[in-house]
Amino acid sequence: MSDNRPASLRRRTLLATAMAGVASTSLPAIAQDKPKLRLGVALPLTGSQALFGTDQVRAAQWGAEDINRKGGVNGQPLEMIVQDTQADPQTGINAFNHLIGVDKVPVIAVAWSSVVQATAPVATRDTTLALSIGASSTKVAHLGDYVYTTYPLANVDVTALAKYVYNTLGKRTGAVLYINNESGLEGGRVFRDVFTQLGGKIVAYEAYDPTATDFTGMLLKVRVADPEIIHIQGLTADTPQVIAQMRQLGMQQRVTSYSAGYNPQLIKQLGAAAEGFIVTSLAPGPGDNPNVAAFIERWKKEMGRAPNGLPYTQYLYDYPYIVSSIYAWLAKNNLPVSGENFRKGLVEIREFDLPMTGKLVVNPDHTVDKPVYLLTVKDGAFVPLATIS
């Protein structure tokens, strides 16, 4: 029978198989004899997001290898099986069908909001646990019984930031500038609501078009309102431009943003104008956790560079640790391996102590509690400002 699948599909499968092969062949001999414990990963290995997806897969692979090196789960090694989603919803559904139907995995790590939302019905239908690792849309918490997140959703860090601005920095008037898309609308609203509920006053609340490059009119409105602090809920591309144009118009207020602003490139683009800028991070940095410093060193040693999207790779590294805890829980409770029991294990264990991102608490409402790390730009570098539990 001829293979009439498209060439690109065959390439994707080959790539995924090769990566899975790397994960299993590096196991120590002592663990190879025992049946392997499977875990699935559905991330983009090709396409525009491959830059991030492949690094995330590599991080998860290292996590599995490190667990196996220490004897796996009760002597049984983990086997990670990877499928390419291209960050595309339909390809993501195909990846899920393959992982569940062919590879029989009880748990799948998935990212990118659109893919998580598209694959959620498949996970629910086939009673397979889907762990969203990186998607921040609050919709992720409402995608059914079998979809959980290990990554804090959008409202967590912005809430903590608004509280810090009001309580610790003592600011009483603020402006919110947000990009007119899902993440901007949601984050901007959260900052405004939390700041207002605390007693602060939002004197300017302005959205801008995602394709805008000139923010003069909007900024002049803000200048007239004269807020004590300005929160920008934008993206990597537009946030530096807004700040640059602010400074050029003589606006010297302190600026805050969320994790999208945590980008060393921004400091290069703005120079001294970035000083005092406050951002959030949902994963600890090298100064907060020595494992992270070692993790970055490992990247530099093995790959010759830092990972693309460091916080996301930290969360993916921790994924096999969550899975191994659930496998251990199943063994302890004499329960067979199934998606249903995996879900039960996640909910029962609830608290995980993870090597790269610290403590994780899974809430019954499908959200998670994680500490929020605030950083500020000082002398041309991001330095820790506060950690909010």
Binding site: L51, A212, D214, G217, L220, K221, T236, L249, G250, K268
Partner: protein, 307 residues
């Protein structure tokens, strides 16, 4: 209180119009000479930016070298589009729709290739996007503003002089007026097309240089920027290069001032509103009553080409 705000918006909007004018001229010139709605220009703009980006950031060569290499590579891409794409379609007597699809696909293809080569992280031409600023009568004027206005003004004057007084420029106008008649006089229409693509490459490169020194660029950014060029060309009237440039300035200012009456997030919608109105009410472009009988660029008598 209001006057400084109005003046600041005018100045910044006027300076920002610079790159829109350059993109519009590049687009309108091809429409005029080649009689083609060249949506492949977005691809050429992408090539221009990423070539300059590579030369500056990876090869660490000086800016002037980056610009010259950017122009050369972009012009080469334009000539390839003309040689291997458009000429083939002309030979096959393809419909206008095929030309349209071809140019559109070219731009999408280039965007995907650039995405694979450079990723989807937004990048700027230089590490810093801050420009020194001075306050003049309460208006913030940056070095970038002055550079943008100067580059665009000089380019427009040079183009006008080229079209009016240089033999090749006059050939362009002759081909634009009537390609077949021009060929009877010994003017090569094919050569005129190539010259038009080369000039469009220079303007695209200048525009992307100005844009990339102020804002971050993604491989898909040129596709968004093209909308301005299309509306400017439509509003200025087919074949009226400098009217299209003026239309681009007006569009940029209207968009900037619109923030005083509508929320900033609707600024993008203003352009689509203009596009809708122009297509429905001014399909041949907007002309002031006094200019109805005049041409923006008088067409010279076709000149006998050198044999």
């Amino acid at each position: 209180m209001m006057l400084p705000i109005l003046a600041q918006i005018f100045w910044t909007g006027f300076a920002n119009a610079a790159y829109y004018v350059l993109f519009t001229i590049a687009f309108a010139l091809i429409v005029k000479v080649v009689q083609l709605w060249n949506f492949a220009q977005a691809g050429m703009m992408g090539i221009a930016f990423y070539t300059m980006y590579t030369v500056i950031n990876f090869l660490e060569w000086p800016t002037w070298a980056a610009f010259l290499i950017g122009v050369a590579v972009t012009a080469a891409a334009g000539l390839l589009v003309e040689f291997y794409g458009l000429r083939t379609l002309r030979r096959r007597r393809s419909s206008n729709l095929m030309f349209f699809i071809f140019t559109l696909i070219f731009s999408e293809l280039i965007a995907y290739v650039l995405m694979f080569l450079f990723g989807t992280e937004p990048v700027t031409l230089f590490p810093s996007i801050l420009s020194p600023v001075r306050i003049i009568h309460g208006i913030a004027v940056t070095d970038w503003d002055l550079t943008a206005i100067a580059v665009t003004s000089v380019s427009l004057i040079a183009l006008w002089l080229f079209l009016q007084f240089h033999r090749e420029g006059q050939f362009l106008l002759a081909v634009a007026d009537n390609g077949r008649l021009a060929e009877l006089y010994g003017i090569s229409a094919q050569r005129a097309y190539l010259v038009a693509f080369a000039i469009a490459a220079v303007f695209s490169c200048e525009g992307m240089y100005l844009f990339g020194t102020r804002a971050a660029v993604l491989p898909t950014t040129p596709n968004d920027l093209m909308l301005f060029a299309v509306i400017g060309t439509l509003l200025g009237g087919m074949g009226r290069l400098f009217a299209a440039a003026a239309a681009a300035v007006v569009l940029a200012l209207v968009q900037s001032y619109s923030v005083l009456v509508i929320a900033s997030k609707w600024q993008g919608l203003v352009l689509y509103g203009f596009l809708f109105v122009v297509i429905v009410l001014f399909p041949r472009g907007f002309r002031l009553p006094g200019f109805r009988a005049r041409r923006a660029i008088p067409s010279p008598t076709p000149v006998q080409a050198k044999v």
